[in-house]
Each structure stands twice: as C-alpha cells, then as structure tokens.
Amino acid sequence: MYKIVRKEILNSQVKLLEIEAPYVARKAEPGQFIILRVDESGERIPFTIADYDREKGTVTIIFQEVGASTLALGLLNEGDSLADFVGPLGVASELEGVKKAAVIGGGLGSAIAYPQAKKLNQMGASVDVIMGYRNKDIIILEKEMAEVSDRLFVTTDDGSNGTKGFVSDILQKLLDEGTEYDVVIAIGPAIMMKVVCDVTRPHGIRTIVSLNPIMIDGTGMCGGCRVTVGGETKFACVDGPDFDGHQVDFDELMRRLSMYKDKERTAVERHKCRLEDQVNAK
C-alpha cells in the first residue's frame, strides 16, 4: 500500500497528492510517469510525475477530476493509501546541454512542466515559463514556477488575470522580439501542444512535447498508447512520453484520446449518483 502523506486542493478541480513510494522516488526524473490504482477494483491511471523527494521517499502527482477514477482519487485524504503505485515509467526528458529554454504549460500541464523547469533552473539554464489557464480562478503553481524561472508569463483565455490570450500568443511575441531558445518544452492539452509546435516550426526550434495517450500497463505491453511520430508508430509509454513535437501526428492523438469518451461520461454519472446517494443517506 502506498500512503498519502500530503493533500492539497489547488483549485476547484485540481488536487495534489504526495505519496509514499520510496523505490519510485529514488529513480524518478522529470518527464517520467507513474501508474496508480485507487483501490482493488480500480482502473490503472497514468500520471506524469509532478515532483519527487528522494530523501523523504515521496512522489507528487497533480491531477484534475475528469473521470470516475480521478473523482474517486480526489476523495482520498492524508493517511489513506492507494492500492497500487508503479513507476517510474517512460524515458526521462533530455535536458542536457540546454542553456535557454521556454517551458510552456497549459492548465494542468503546468504541473507536469514544473519538474522540467525546476531541473533546468538547477542546471543553470535560463528559463522562461509561460502558463495558460481558462480563467484566473484555476491558476496553480504560480509561486513555484516563479521561483524556478527567469521570467514568468501567465495568461488566461478570458483575460480575468489581466493578460488575455493563449500561451502560443506569448511565445509568438517573444520569438518576434528576437528571443532565442535552445528548446521549447510544451505540456498540456494536445491542441495546445499542436499550436505551440506550429509557432516554433518556422523558427526551427527543438520542441519537446509530453504525450498522455490511453494506456494500461505502461511497459510496452498493450500498445494502446501508440502514436505516430515522424510517420512511424511509437509506444508513448516506453518510447516517450516525450517526443519531438514537430513530428507528432496530433490529430490522430486527439482522436485516440476520445476513444472511451462516451463510456467515461456514463461512469462519471454513475459515480456522482452513488455519491449523491451517500450524501442523501446522511
């Protein structure tokens, strides 16, 4: 069993869990992921590692409650345990030799981009962080990102924090101003990563994206996570999750991500009904 040692509610839908998993913490690197199961009948859900503490032996994940399983996960509290927690899976991000980077996080992607920004900062690289959210109420990790970046830009789709627009608009502006980057790391919804890649492509800037397709085992066994990269089929779990964004077939990725959408909706409704029953019974 894997104990939850810290829980934070970051906004109305996003929560943070710090979990005791000493073996995973010892090896975890930015860009890698874990798979967990909430309980003995749970599905296997992959999460990118948001942070790790080798000394404490803990791994942190940040997640949005979008489906029945993540809703169930969000109900757990400090002191509760997860049935299963396996990792670190996937290949760590290649950050060696980077001098100047833009790290871009969209929504929850900011949580996943945080360890990359932190590591680059520790390596002495100059880091610009661009975070984008739908509105100001759901901004997360602003303080943490500020600490590990040279410049931090926060945008909202509706302009409720003062800077209206998308992360790609900020990146476009920085590039137009003549800012040069060795690498752009973009993590977030597939559509955001796709747009960022469109911005960097004409400049020929290496652009790393972190993909989150549907998978079961995370070790190359099911092939559910296959993505087309440079015309070839890759397994995101073992060949990624980082890929050269300019080579990724994002349209296929988005289509495959929607595979179980209908079933997910039904599951959420069932989950909510059960919760309402519990609440009404009290």
Binding site: Y23, R44, V86, G87, D217, T219, V227, M259
Partner: protein, 468 residues
C-alpha cells in the same frame, strides 16, 4: 486392486458447457471429469514400461504413475505425484498442447485416441483443490536470496523449485497482480483466475515473496539487484509481451486493438463485468487477425462481449494454424467465422476515425517456406472488404526491451530474445539466468515452466559452486 482395463478406442467425453450458452458467458468451457469418469479414462492407460508419454512432457510429469493412482481412487496421491515435477498441474491440465506433447506419444493413440492425460491431470488438481487440505512443507532458508523477474509460468516454476531447495526467493512483477500471461492473457473461460491465484498462494505459503508493481529495468536494474539488494542470482522470466502490428494503413484507427490490450482489459482488468472501471469497446463485427491460441482467445472473448459476427482472419490454411485443435474446435462451435487464406491489406476508417471495414486479399498456398509451412501467395485481383467495427491484431509478440536496454552486458539476439543455454538458462552475464518466452519468443506455458525448472537447478549449482 486392479480395475478392469478400458479398451475403448475413444476418450471418455468431458462435459462442456453448451456452445450457445457459453458464448454468452465467461465461465469455464470444459467442466471436468467426475471421479467415475476419471477412473474410467485412467483405465485406458496401458502403464507401458517404456513410458513414451513422459518423454513428450517438457517437465517429465510421471504420467503412468499418477494415472495408475487415479485408477485406484487415490486422487490426492495422484496430484502429489504430478506435483513432484510440475508446480502448476491445474494450469497445465487446461492449457498444455497435450496433443503435440504427452498424448502424441501415447501408445493408445496409434489405434484410436490417446489417453486423456491432460483431462486426468486437471481432474487430479481440481479434486485436490476441492477436497484436500493444503499443507506445505516449508524448508528452512539457506540464507541465499534469488530474484525472479516476472511472475508468469517460467518465474513461478523457477520459484517453486528454488524455495523447496531453501532459497529466499523474491518474485518481481510489473503488474499489480502476479501470474503473468496466466492472468492477463488466457481468458477466464479457459483458465479460471481463482485457480491461478490458488496455485500462487501455494507458492507464497511455501515462503516465496512476491513484490508487485516493480518494473525491473526502471525501478531497479539487474545490476542493482545483484550488487545492492543482496541477491546471489537473478532469473529473468519476463516473457514476450510486446505486441506486433502488421504496419498496414489504418492500424491506429479507433477500434483497433492488439490482442494483448484487448485480453488484458478483459482478463486482468475485468472489463467484461458490468461494474468494471476499465472500459472496453464491445464491437458488433470483430475481426481477429492471426491463427494462434491468442487469436482464438481474443475471438471467443469478443463473442462473449456480445459481438454478432466474429472472424478469424488467417493468411494460411487451417492446417497451418498454430492454435491447439481443441481451441479451434471450441471457437467454431461458438460460431466464430474462419476466413482462412485471407490477408489484410488495410483497415478502413469512417470520417471520425473509427474502424468501418478491412480490405483483404485472398491467398493460395505455394511451396514450403523456411518454417516448412507452405508459403501463402496473394491471388491477384482478389481484393475485398469486410465490414467491421473492431479489429484485433494477434500476429505475435516479442520480448520487452526494458531489461535488455538497462542490462548492456546481457546478450540478446536480433529478435531481442535473451541468449541463454537451453539446458541451464545461463546467460552471458554472471549470476543471471533466463528462460521462457523472454528467451524463445512467444511459446507455451509448459515450455516456459520447463525452462524455469532447468534454470532453478542451474542456479542452485551456481550458488553452491560460488560457496565452495
């Protein structure tokens, strides 16, 4: 007391669920012999002095001995006789290809059907699980630790033998549940999972430790197991779990599964149950590409999920199919449609990227190829489209690269299989042994068990030689 020998040329029939009924449920197909049936069938054994059947068994189960015990009604003793060389009788009795192993050598098979050795093995194991109280002799630990990577048939067999020799055995499993292909691959209707669990519980009762959620190559390397975690030897039984695809257009459409993914969702994650949290697509018209046991499992599972039309698409003829005869027979009984001498060219999607059909060509058989099987050749102009909503690719698997990529001094061949001695499992790396599908590529449960047992013997000798 000697029972009357049964000279019937045919095996005693084994009761099975009705095909129409069973194609709608996941319960076991074959129901097993009663005591009377088992004795009747056991009496067909001639108890030959030269025991040809034993040489056909990869783990040399003492077949005539255990069959004779059944004729005497000594069922528990029969089970224990099998256990002397085979740690998973209930599994092997169900999934071994007996027709090409022990039963192929049976003298009764010359003028009729061979003795139903597999059915009798299964009977003895089931009888014991149901009726006998299990007590396990635990051997005192000798203080030496052995790590086993993978809890499939190879790893379980190796662990079973090593713990009996006094070793402190730890099995590392990547999934959340032990059993490997026995739990994620082979469906419930062929191998009930509670039975696999009982076999594993037996090993644990004898002192084998199982650590799930441990992906060796990621969380720990083989070098770390040997140098930091205090293991004297490592056995790699990580199987061949990487699914192959055909590399034809349309394979990444929604609705295309690898057999591994489809079966794992069903078997390990229980997606066939209504309240399961892991989803699965329940197709109306499903094609399974391939002709092995895994293809039969996938096709029959798709049928049980409610598919109306399920096709097996195989490029050679039925005679070349690698699947067990019994599986093919059961699949046909359940209404699976066999489209042999048919090869996919591309999978066709609708406007939203979901499978709507598969274009195939018809094939004919030419001269034998390197495998000795007649080579399938495309018939020009035979292109045709089958309407489908789900395609399951079941054309084989290869070993997972996680171990070889993190153990550079472990030699592998061009297919990614670990190079290991067939008799001992010895690899290029000192203290590291390997066996099962990780070495041979995808094969059978019993061959993997045989390799695990051979490696256990070699590991014992290796560790003792280091002490001397």
């Amino acid at each position: 007391m000697q029972n009357k020998r049964n000279m019937s040329p045919k095996k005693v029939d084994i009761p099975v669920q009705d095909p129409i009924v069973r194609s709608g449920n996941f319960e076991e197909v074959a129901l097993g012999y009663t005591e009377e049936m088992a004795i009747e069938e056991a009496n067909r054994c001639l108890n030959c002095k030269h025991k040809p059947c034993v040489s056909g068994c990869p783990v040399n189960v003492k077949i005539p001995e255990f069959v004779m015990l059944i004729t005497e009604g000594k069922f528990e003793e029969a089970y224990e006789k099998i256990l002397e060389t085979n740690s998973l009788p209930a599994v092997c009795g169900r999934v071994c290809p007996q027709e090409s192993q022990c039963e192929a050598k049976c003298v009764r098979g010359i003028k009729g059907e061979s003795v139903g050795i597999g059915r009798l093995e299964r009977f003895a194991a089931d009888w014991s699980m149901k009726n006998a109280e299990k007590k396990y002799d635990t051997v005192p630990f000798n203080g030496k630790k052995v790590a086993i990577i993978g809890s499939g048939p190879a790893g379980l067999a190796c662990a079973g033998d090593l713990v009996k020799l006094g070793y402190d055995v730890t099995i590392f499993e990547a999934f959340h549940l032990a059993g490997g292909v026995l739990v994620y691959g082979i469906p419930e209707f062929r191998l009930p999972k509670d039975l696999v669990q009982k076999e594993i519980d037996g090993l644990v009762a004898q002192g084998v430790k199982i650590r799930t959620n441990m992906v060796i190559g990621k969380v720990l390397t083989i070098d770390e197991l040997l140098e930091e975690e205090g293991f004297s030897a490592v056995f790699v039984g990580s199987g061949a779990g990487l699914p192959m695809f055909m590399n034809i257009p349309g394979e990444n459409l929604n609705g295309v599964y690898s057999a591994n993914e489809f079966l794992t969702r069903i078997n390990l994650m229980k997606a066939y149950k209504e309240d399961a949290k892991t989803p699965i697509m329940r197709g109306e018209a499903v094609a399974v590409v391939g002709g092995g046991n895994v293809a039969m499992d996938a096709a029959r599972s798709a049928k049980r999920l409610g598919a109306k039309d399920v096709y097996i698409i195989y490029r050679r003829s039925e005679a070349e199919m690698p699947a067990r005869l019994e599986e093919v027979h059961h699949a046909k009984e359940e209404g699976i449609i066999f489209k042999v001498l048919t090869n996919p060219v591309q999978i066709i999607g609708d406007d939203n990227g979901w499978v709507k059909g598969m274009e195939c060509v018809s094939m004919e058989l030419g001269e034998p190829d390197q495998s000795g099987r007649r080579r399938p050749i495309k018939i020009e102009g035979s292109e045709h489209v089958i309407d489908l909503d789900t395609v399951i690719m079941s054309i084989g698997t290869s070993p997972n690269p996680l171990i070889r990529s993190t153990t550079p001094d472990l030699a592998t061949n061009k297919w990614g299989c670990i190079e290991a001695d067939a008799e001992t499992g010895t690899t290029s790396k000192e203290g590291v042994f390997a066996g099962g599908d990780a070495v041979t590529g995808a094969a059978t449960v019993i061959l993997a068990m045989g390799a695990g047992k051979k490696a256990a013997k070699a590991i014992d000798e290796y560790i003792k030689s280091k002490e001397a």
